[in-house]
């Protein structure tokens, strides 16, 4: 059981702040690091993995600073985002080499166990250059797991995976989390994160914007004012009904269609069909105006 503690961690590159005073504790189980592209997720993972010095603050693993302490890699397994591996060796040779670099007593057995875990035993004797993206990802996992680490850091592990590979990796991470390992992965897709992560840390523009289990994050994200654009057989009549009902606090007819801002999305989506039916208005189109993840994140930051 291992715990990674980030205490007031900042990182800047010249004038650009990539991580801004982040404090979080990552314990056993699965933690999802969620944030839009460019939020500083990779920077944060690099600092957690001891590959980047924090400009301010400290990152410690069970009390030991990770920066410039290669010994922490006995406890940490790292799945980098970079594609490149040692293409000219086979998957088997590469994982065995990783086991030997860790100084494991029985590298072959460790490599076999790791490759079995990621289900890559069949293709193990092919050169890495011939692997598909998904297979490379699994070999990367195997190299990270070969020394049975208590902490696993994964940078955007689901990127470029097909749905079947995604499910397979989710199963694997779930299993690792249940074994009591500290698993942290980054992603910019909420659904991916809430599927498997017990804890979610939201990072936006380098700031730690929210933290908690997926219900809390989901609620934070859904309990914000939602904007909808509606096309109907009688916009004016529908607008009046919505205002009278109180399901929305702003109604705007000026744009040629009906724009609505609803503070409570749950209430609004239930009220809208009822109001339309009661008033004899046909709904032609209802579309959310700001469902992009970026706007959700922007809301969390401004909160």
């Amino acid at each position: 059981m291992s715990t990674l503690v980030l205490d007031g961690v900042s990182r800047w590159y010249g004038n650009v702040v990539a991580a801004n005073d982040v404090t979080m504790t990552v314990g056993p189980g699965i933690t999802g690091l969620l944030g839009p592209n460019g939020a500083g997720k990779s920077t944060l993972i690099a600092m957690m993995g001891g590959f980047l010095a924090p400009s301010a603050g400290t990152v410690t693993l069970d009390g030991t600073a990770v920066w410039r302490h290669p010994d922490i890699y006995r406890a940490i397994g790292l799945v980098p985002e970079t594609e490149a591996m040692y293409d000219m060796v086979t998957g088997w040779q590469f994982v065995v080499a990783n086991a030997r670099l860790h100084g494991l007593p029985d590298p072959a057995a460790a490599a076999r166990r790791a490759l079995e875990t990621v289900e890559m035993m069949d293709a193990k004797d092919r050169e890495i250059a011939t692997y598909s993206k998904g297979m490379k990802q699994r070999v990367k996992m195997a190299t990270a797991l070969v020394h049975d680490p208590s902490v696993l850091l994964l940078d955007e592990p689901f990127n470029g995976m097909d749905p079947r590979q995604r499910l397979h990796l989710m199963d694997l991470l779930r299993r690792l989390g249940q074994e009591g390992r500290t698993v942290l992965f980054s992603s910019h897709i909420l659904e991916e994160v809430e599927e498997i992560a017990g804890t979610i840390e939201v990072l936006v523009a380098g700031r730690h914007a929210a933290s908690g289990d997926f219900r809390r994050i989901r609620r934070l994200m859904t309990e914000r004012p939602h904007q909808y654009t509606i096309a109907s057989s009688d916009d004016r009549r529908l607008a009046a009904a919505i205002v009278a009902d109180g399901a929305a606090d702003t109604v705007d007819l000026s744009g040629g269609s009906l724009a609505v801002r609803a503070p409570d999305v749950g209430r609004f989506v239930h009220a809208l069909p009822r109001l339309a039916r009661d008033n004899g208005v046909r709904l032609l189109e209802v579309s959310p105006a700001d469902e992009s993840l970026e706007s959700v994140f922007a809301y969390l930051v401004a909160r």
């Binding site: 980047l52 980098p80 970079t82 000219m88």
Partner: protein, 242 residues
């Protein structure tokens, strides 16, 4: 040193396409040596000309640059160095293992062909081959260490290395005598000069630097480069895509 790091490094060095250059360039040298022998009738002065101008002055630093950047630069460029760094290995071990491979490769692909070329082009009882062989070995040690350090320090190691080896040592060194005091080639040639003794003056194998100072400078540069490489690897920043 670590055997696994050395194996991976060797496969990385020889497995990439640029490994072909490691064979083509020495082959070119041997062919040239053959032509020189045929044209000059195994004249020692012609051999000295070929070695000073091409083998020692151009090919040796070029090969060391290829090897020095090949053992670590490509891994840093594509990010695969992370697999070595994410291990409980002292950074010193990683650098020394890679240097050992680089030194070995430089000896096999650069120093031995150079000696062979001297013998093909025409030698005087192996005198020249021995002197140039020892000098080239020393130069190769320093060049590869320098270029390995350069690869860790900057992503433009190849360009900077080329500028140093060709522009600084050859062109500028040719016009501005003072520059020859700060030149790995001249430092190494001092040893060739003292091995050859009186023949050095006859054949014109002369260095701008005295023997003792030259050896000291070679050693200091090599050690300095190794220390710098280890230091910089400890704090190497991998490009974050974020």
């Amino acid at each position: 040193m670590n055997a696994v790091v050395m194996q991976l490094t060797l496969r990385g060095l020889l497995g990439r396409r640029r490994a072909l250059l490691l064979l083509v360039l020495p082959a070119l040298l041997l062919v040239l040596a053959g032509i020189v022998r045929w044209a000059s009738g195994a004249d020692v002065f012609a051999t000295v000309g070929l070695t000073e101008n091409f083998a020692f002055g151009t090919l040796l630093p070029l090969m060391c640059l290829l090897i020095g950047t090949g053992v670590i630069g490509s891994e840093i460029d594509d990010g695969s160095i992370v697999y070595l760094l994410a291990k409980p290995l002292p950074r010193r071990t990683i650098i020394l293992s890679k240097l050992a491979v680089a030194w070995g490769a430089a000896f096999v692909f650069a120093v031995l062909p150079l000696v062979a070329a001297v013998e093909i082009a025409g030698d005087d009882g192996g005198r020249l081959g021995l002197a140039y062989g020892v000098a080239a070995t020393l130069a190769a040690l320093t060049y590869t260490s320098l270029f390995v350090a350069l690869s860790v320090v900057t992503r433009n190691a190849v360009i900077i290395g080329l500028l140093y080896a060709l522009l600084w040592e050859t062109v500028l060194g040719g016009y501005v005598p003072g520059i020859r005091n700060v030149s790995v080639r001249q430092w190494a040639l001092a040893t060739a000069e003292s091995i050859l003794g009186d023949y050095a003056y006859v054949w014109g194998v002369l260095s701008a630097v005295g023997q003792t100072a030259a050896l000291g400078l070679l050693a200091a540069t090599t050690v300095g480069a190794v220390v710098l490489a280890v230091r910089r690897l400890e704090t190497l920043r991998l490009t974050a895509t974020d």
